[in-house]
């Protein structure tokens, strides 16, 4: 008797990613309020670290 393969219930659902892409792509005002740029690049790719400014917290 064989053993069943298991799947991973911690992975997020692809449908939720699509729901988010739709939110970013189809709603014009979803812009990064700190950089003024679109929160995602065209084509849905996420802006990576280059859009972030690094600051140091003073104690």
């Amino acid at each position: 008797m064989g053993k069943a393969k298991t799947n991973d219930s911690t992975k997020s659902f692809s449908a939720i990613e699509k729901a988010k892409d739709k939110a970013y792509n189809e709603t014009y005002h979803f812009r990064d309020s700190q950089t003024g740029q679109s929160s995602r690049k065209e084509g849905g790719a996420i802006n990576e670290k280059q859009d972030s400014i690094k600051i140091t917290i003073k104690k």
Binding site: N7, F30, D32, S39
Partner: protein, 478 residues
Amino acid sequence: MYSEKDSAREYPEPDDPNENYRSPFRKDYGRLIHSPAFRRLQGKTQLYPGLESDFFRNRLTHSLEVAQIAKSIAIRINSVYKLKVADQINPDICEFAGLAHDLGHPPFGHQGEEALDECLRDFGGFEGNAQTLRILSRIEKRAKGQLETKDNEYRFGLNVCYRSLASILKYDNVIPQVSEDRIESQKNHAIKGFYYSELPLVKTIKTNVAGPDFEGKFKTIECRIMDIADDIAYSTYDLEDGFKAGFYHPVMFFCYPGEVFENVARKVAKAIDGPFSAADVREELLRIFGSIYEFPESSFVKAEGDDKTYFAIEESKAKATFANLTNIAFTASKNLADNGYIRTEFTSGLVGEAVNGVEYFPDPQHPALSKVQLRRDLLIRVEVLKNFTFESQILSPRLKVSEFRGKEIVKEIFKALIDDEGWRLMPADYQRNFHHFLDLPNKYRCIGDFIAGMTDRYAIEFYGRLKSENPETIFKPF
């Protein structure tokens, strides 16, 4: 996995050589599909009243979905566990179980069930699963014996095989005949099981399926598969109905009152037989829907301090940033609920994940009683979704009014039928059975059978004819 005794029937039928092209279980499937009780499922409430929209599931579409999922689970187990032909689970019986499992639901769902149980508490009680067995083995009009002897049970319903009947026996428990025999916690609710009147039949089913020496709780592999399929369907499709109806979308789940989370936690703890808190409910919902709240790093300013890395927001832009992030999460959540393609992909993903998480545990001594179960993380997921959908909606005034009304209608109809000459209000075949049986419990059971068989619409119409002042309804035939 199957013997000749599994395919025996309560009322023996001669072998028909023209029917050898299909198995006895496939015949049972045909008998069920063509039965009036199966068709009536289309008029019975699932969660949302069917009269409100034709998108919502009713008991018929729910049963079709359960049957499809149950059959898929059986086919998958046979395949991934590489079972030999003699050890394989029969998908037809699983499909039958899925189609038949809700036949006994009275009109107005669980409220109708509670109302009938209240009425019949001293006459054997009422419960949906018990009624399903009764419909298949007694009420449906396919096979009958001799009617001559007064008070004998002459009906055999659809006369399906013992193994098919076993596939809907979810609770191996006889319901007490009178209320004083109920334990305290069961005094005010319908008790899951089968009626005392079907006890001899259940004994015969057990002997044929598990053997004469079997002792212990009886539940066949096909019944267990149907049970899991029912939970998967409930957890996913009631959620989808609520999305489509606009009653909620995922981010709203985190805004429900603590009472809902506490109620869900209590039910999940019972189902998984272990501790489960309101916080655990929230965590599981976050595991399912949490990616809605994941935002690109570019939404924040990277900051360092205390040897840690932070995401920061500039004070002057805090309000705009928070508004932006909230709006993204809200819109994504709405998209998941409103967009047909996305919503279908999501529910399909949930069902597929659960079907692939069913584990099989063979019982070499009693193969018919082999076990299946959902992997624990998926069992928790299914139970949280199933109970959250129910608890979040059941408190809404809209459903409360509908429930109250349903319960009142069922009780009033019962009251009218047990009154002097009330039996005259029933159709001729029910009147005949009412007089055939001599004792009060059997007579009241006939009345219960009649009411339980009603669709929501028929019950409202029947009630209207008894109580309304509209004369049109009086002349409509039963």
